[in-house]
Symmetry: C2
Subunit: 351 residues, 2 copies
Amino acid sequence: MTTLNDVAKLAGVSTMTVSRVVNGSGYASPAVKASVNRAIAELGYMPNVLARQLRSSRTQTLALVVTDIANPFFTTIARGVEDAAHAQGYAVMFCNTDESVDEELDYVRVLIGRRVDGVLLVPATDSSKSLELLRKHNLPVVVLDRRLRSGEVDEVRADSEAGAYLVVRHLIGLGHRQIAALAGPEAVSTSSDRVSGYRRALAEAGIDAGTQQILFGEYTEASGHAMTERILSASERPTAVFAGNNFIAFGAIQALREAGMDIPGDMSIVVFDDLPQGWALPFLTVISQPAYEIGKRAAEMMIERLASEKPIEARTVVLQSNLIVRQSSAPPRATAFRPAPDLANLMENPA
Amino acid sequence: MTTLNDVAKLAGVSTMTVSRVVNGSGYASPAVKASVNRAIAELGYMPNVLARQLRSSRTQTLALVVTDIANPFFTTIARGVEDAAHAQGYAVMFCNTDESVDEELDYVRVLIGRRVDGVLLVPATDSSKSLELLRKHNLPVVVLDRRLRSGEVDEVRADSEAGAYLVVRHLIGLGHRQIAALAGPEAVSTSSDRVSGYRRALAEAGIDAGTQQILFGEYTEASGHAMTERILSASERPTAVFAGNNFIAFGAIQALREAGMDIPGDMSIVVFDDLPQGWALPFLTVISQPAYEIGKRAAEMMIERLASEKPIEARTVVLQSNLIVRQSSAPPRATAFRPAPDLANLMENPA
DNA sequence: CTGTTAGCGCGTTCAG
DNA sequence: CTGAACGCGCTAACAG
């Protein structure tokens, strides 16, 4: 590995001069500059970022901690973060916690050890243990997607409550009165917020939430499958299902298929979270969150905070989600004959 | 930021002793050990990884450079890499080149600067400029998914030629004689290999490839869409399409919809690359690559090389892909009545 | 078992 | 405009 020193020797100057040329800081005579650059090219010198970081105690690196890297919602956030960070000269470390608080804490420790400049965190639960640890080590944090119980942090998220309200109102508007809710973990704010929005829509329509099936599970396909089986085995079946995220919806659809049910003929389904455009057959009615924007805004907020001289107060950004009506929602118990929705059909009415 | 020194002072020992306790290297009396640990806990000390890395000139970090982080094929590879690396105490830096050679070179420079221990590379083209640069800086490399023109590198990939052969033979077996190929970039080995496999299947069936439409484009939805439009506008339409990857297939499906064509009634379509289990409606007949395994094997190969005292010869691992027949492929111009494959059907025959 | 010395590669500080 | 000295935080290599 060639170092500043090697270059300096070859160019016949001091290391400091080379350093200045490399960083464009301070002055250097054109002649010296040229000979240094020649030496750099000849040796293929590349600065050792580690040493530079140790010296300056700034790593120009942000960490993005998400709960499920397999979920396109989070990969889209990741792209937003990466784009904004890259544009300002920051690198990004991606960390995947698999919805586990322990993994999250492990990662936070690693990040502290690696001296990242800031952490963008999608917390696995609403507890703020990780946040406290990060705070203790003076690492700035932006919380994404989910709320924490204890506050005073920068936050960027979509409005889960309002989104859920919208999509459930859509179902009610279609005539549904028995609408099951398949939510994620109760300790995750997006879950509880979405259930709140669901309840608000019911209340507004004068429907007693006590008569409804509201299940908390996990944001996974398996959980969606299990919850749907529970729902179908109940004495009174709902006519529609509100899935708390895309993976829950996948499991639910699978379970409905297995039960031989037609969507939306026998059961409507609506979902929080869209799929990326073009992905397979888009037939689900969804609430679409501005995932890219969430990531981008969070990274920008962080970098702004890092660049600021004086302390900045904690800010919260709540972005709007959009209802996209497709083919998975229809009025309940259609009595008129409807042919099973074949694929051709689905394809001809993409949105 | 508390340092080794702070801990040493508080515990009344030398920094070296603290270092030894922290790393579990060398001996330390239980008494000293205890008091050091107490000091560490009290101060909430966490080692500065940067300094450690600078000293030891090992970062315990691998880089994974992929061409499209939005593609589930690559995110699955990423999980394989992450799991294997994490298990051995390595961190992973993810880099996304968007199929651009320039971005790739930029990233390679960053990685050299950051002194990662090794690079897992999905090259944007079959040129080996990045490889040469990495070599020059003594960074070990494992090439994933794609071949390079010039060799002597560790490689892990699935067999594109054989996979394409399989799936095209499947089409021929169904009776198709006009099969269009929608490939990725010609300079990417997976593209050319898949076209080779396609040609082999044709040749074996005595079909002249000269009578077929073979298009090279990009691994994107837009390109798949455009190529499909080209195909449909030709004087003689094919009865089946072989899509070079999942995104090309998405674009193709979209274009077929717009042309009012039924799949597989009017046109069969088969695809290289599966979607993750559970994703939307799995109706595509595909060649499924062992993506997770590719990532895992690559990371293990790298770590083995890093751990080895003596030089290891370059190795190549070629994994098998599997044909999964679903509903998007059927005999051409079915004359007998075939019911449209409805959803229930799709589900009962997942693979 | 523990401490001392030295330096990883770089950039800040201050002379020249 | 350029260079010398120093230290970021840590650990390898020796003492003792």
